[in-house]
Each structure stands twice: as structure tokens, then as C-alpha cells.
Amino acid sequence: MAQHEDDFTEYARARQPALLRTAYLLSGDPHTAEDLVQTTLAKLYLAWPKVEKRESVDGYVRRILVNEHVSLWRRPWRRNEVTSTSLPEPADDRQPDDGTRAVVWQFVRSLPPRQRAVVVLRYYEELTEAETAEVLGISVGTVKSQASRALATLRRQAPPDLAPTRPTHDLGEEER
């Protein structure tokens, strides 16, 4: 029992910062993110004796996190909740920000929940299309189309000076 406890603590302590970041990108709100992660880790704790020996605990945790997020926004009264606008101040001391970050973040926050989850899992978590489909319980085809449409929309809406350099060709709306 004590060993279970120690193993869980070690795992949770190591993974919590990364989970918080993903939860923040999914929810757009630091308080919601913290709540999501706490619930996720609590559920993991309850299931720990069964999952700790599995190869992909990370996948299990990610799935809990996304499901918790999904269950939040699917609640009928969710639409009455106001998302915090007190976003963290960008204190980026690592590299100069040319405005890309603000544009991308504003764009991602504008996405509906499902499409946003696809974008976060595909481009931040860098899951494969199949893994993203697994986590969200949707088809691979939908992951492809949602991700592709998101990029196409960003390309249409982004200021001209944000366009990535060295474009080689235009893949169109349904690019893969």
C-alpha cells in the first residue's frame, strides 16, 4: 500500500506541471485548469493499483483529463459560466515574441470546444491523428478535417506578416 502511495506521488508530482499546461490550453482558464488537473489526479489515484503497471499511464491520464474537460463544457448550464479574462501576463524571457503567440492563442480560444481539443492534442501534445481520435472518441477522419480546417481558418485570418516563410504550395482547404 505504501509503495503504491509512493509510486503515485512520484508520478503525479512529475506529471502535474505538464497536465496543468494542457488543461490550461484546453480550458483557457487557469482556475478551471487547476480544477481539471486535481480531479484527473484524484481519479488516477483511485485507479492507481490497476493502472500503475501499464505501459501507457500517460495515455490514461490524458484521457481522463480530456473527458473531464468535455464533461464540463457539455453541462447544460455551462453556457452561463463566464470564462476568466484574467489571462496570465506574457512574461516571456526566453525569446522575443513577434506577436505570433498572441494571434495563435486568440485564434485557439475562439475555436469551439471540440475543434480546440483537436488542435491542442494534435499540435501541442503532438499526438497522432489516431491517438487524438482515441482520446476524444471521434473518428480519425474528423480529427483530420477539424485540424485541417483550423489551420486553413488561421491562415485566412492571420495578419499577412504572420504568414510562415518559405511557402511551397497551397494545399487547399482539405489539406492533410
Partner: protein
Amino acid sequence: MTEHDNWTALVRDGLRSEAYDAPAAPFDLSAVHGRATAIRRRRRIVTGFAAAAAVAVLVPAAVMLTPGGTQTMPPVAPSPTIVDPTIPTPEPTPEPGGSATWHSDLSDLPVGEAPQVPYARDSVVVFPDGAQVRPETRHEPYAVHYQAAADRYVVGTHDGAGGWYVEVIPGIGADRQVYDAEPGLVTNASQSTVAWLTPGGPVMALRIGEPEPVAFSNELPGADRRLVALEGEDCREVTVGHDCAAYVNVGDALWSSHLAGPTEPMSPATAIGAADMTMDGRIAVMRSRDDLEPGSCWAVLPRLWHDQEPIWESCDAGLEAFSPDGRHLRGVPAYRSGIGDGLVSILGAETGQVRVGLGRFDAEGEDWFIAGSVWEDSDHLLVLVATPLPDTWTEDKIEVDHRWQIIRLGLDGSVENAVEPVVGDELTPVFMLMGR
């Protein structure tokens, strides 16, 4: 590197940069323990919320009632298949032997008769004869009951700030009564009585013909409770001998509370939660629950007694509500995961065998999901289905519209739209089903 790759990298870098500066919270093991304890206590039946919060219509008992039989069948052995939780939940498969009829493609269904029970569209109640009424509630409705014999609406509402209420609104007149409540409204099998939980207090029941609700004599423990079933036809006054009992999921336990009698927990070996009960006392109960697949195991008991042997039990489907005649049950996934349920079915109440269902089996097909379902009559389900449509860009937001359908699924295998499909956003269902 293609342009696509460049844009992908731009999004990835933007998200990483944003995530890097997300506020960090210290790891707090005691908080995780506390939340785990709360979850243990709070774990309620998977379908409890859907069943309890589902809107319902109260109709004269004579219209709806045909009590089902009680003959028992050999129990079906449970099949607790353990699978890797990181693999997507497999949708339940059709019954072996192909005896069940499943429908997956819901995109081009014919439009049949209008629903034979009231439903709501944009908060307006539409009756089978075409009449339309908008109950004027103080707060936002999430569930509506209509007591036809009393011509009054019993509406579950919320204020969006944690306040939950039951509003009783006469069809004619303006004497609205508002009661503090916990989320969820349920009716008994005959739909003659609607009940709810008072915050931290006892069950309240409002019977057709009674001007005021009656409070059960004993309070229930715990803060995490969900009223799931109501039994009896005599929920009028607190007098010993009256036949009226409520069933409440409290944490990982199922409690029974009698109008004028005891309040006590069931043995966990018998049930840890419940979903619905028939006129003759059969009850659909949850026997176990796990965050890992298969998620939950369910059974139908002939009566809710301690150590009662089930008529059948299974880990293949969650259970929601008996049909009006008690012969069938509405089934849902045993493990509810992802963007929304991709399955609803009709099972034989005496066998647990699937007769017919809607199932999202095609990985490349439309990603429709089920937002609710009710019995229209003993042979048909009405199922609220949402299907995402191609997204559109508005001034400052990308909208992914959904096609909302009320689909009629018949025991005979038929499937059709009960109303013309309507396009709306994904978070605000255009329709609200009313019924059990």
C-alpha cells in the same frame, strides 16, 4: 517543408509559448487525496444525472400503464472484460447471432409523425396536437414535467450560479411556486407524482391533485446525493402505511427513504445505485462501477431486497429507464467516454438482450452523438441526436453548427425523424425531450 508544415509549426510554437507561461500551481497531495475522497463519495450512477435530470411528462396513468410481468429468466453471466484504458472504448457490438437491428447512418432519414408526447423546442413546449406553450420560469429550465390532469408544469431550473429550483407553474393563472432543490426531477412509473431533493434535506413529492408537495419524514445523509427513482401511488401525506418510497444514490450507496417510514442504505452487494423502477417493483440497479473499462455493471432485480438474486446482469450496457409497459429497458454505453454517447438501445427487460439500437460504429462516418432519449410509448424511443456540420467563420469565432434531430427508434427496427432536423450550436440543444 510545406506551407502546411509551416502553419503547423506556428500553431505548435504559439501554444507551447502560451502553455509555458500558464500559471503554475504547486503539487498538493493532500488536495488530491481530498478530491479522491469526495469522488468516492460522489460517485453516482453513470446514468443517474441523465435519468434524474431528464425532462418528463406526467400523463393520466390510464394512458400509460400496462404493468410488466415478473417471470424470471436465467441470469446472464457478467462479462467483465478488462481492456487497456488507453485504447478507445469499443462501442458495444450487436448481439451475437445478429438478432438485433442497429442503425448507424442517421443523415438522410424520412420524417414521420410528430412526437406523440410533448417536447420542447427553444423552451417552448410543443404538444402532440400542435399546441405550443412557453412556461414562464424565473430561472433557466433544464427539465420540464407537465401534469396534464392538473394542467401545471413542474420545471427544474437553475440560476447559473449554483442555485437549483423546482418551479410549479399553473397552466392557467399566475401563482407560481418556487422551491429550493438539488438538481434532478424524477417521476414514479405511472408518472402520477414528481419528486425532488431539498438541499441537504428530505425528498419532496408532488402528486397530481395535490396543491402542495409533501416532505418525507426522514432526512438522507450526505451532501452528494441524487434522487433516482420513486415508487408508489400514494405520496400524499406522512402517514404510516402509505405506499411511497424514494431511492437515492448517496456516494457509493443506494438508500431507500419511505414517506413515513425508515431511511436506510442497501447492501453494496445488492446495489450501489439505481436508475429506474417499474410499477411491479422491478428495479434497474448498478452493481459495480469503475473508472476503468468496462465502467459499470448493471442488473435488473425482481425487487429491491437485500441479497436479491438478479433476473439478469451484465457489464455490456448501462441502464436508464424501463418502457411504459415495463417490458423493455433503454440501454446506454456501460462506459461513457469521449465527446458523447454513440449508442442507445432497447433491451428486453427480462433478458437483457438488445432488440434494436442506434450505434456509431463507422470510424469514418459522421460523429453524431446522443444528447438524450425518452420513451415515446412502449414500442418507440425518441432520441435526441446532434451531428457536427462543416464549420463556419463568424466575426470573431469559428462556429461548428450541429444538426439536431429527434429520431424515433421502433422496436420493429424502424427509424425516422420525428420532426424536421434543425441546425443549431453544439452547446445549446434546440430540442428538449420530455418523458422518461
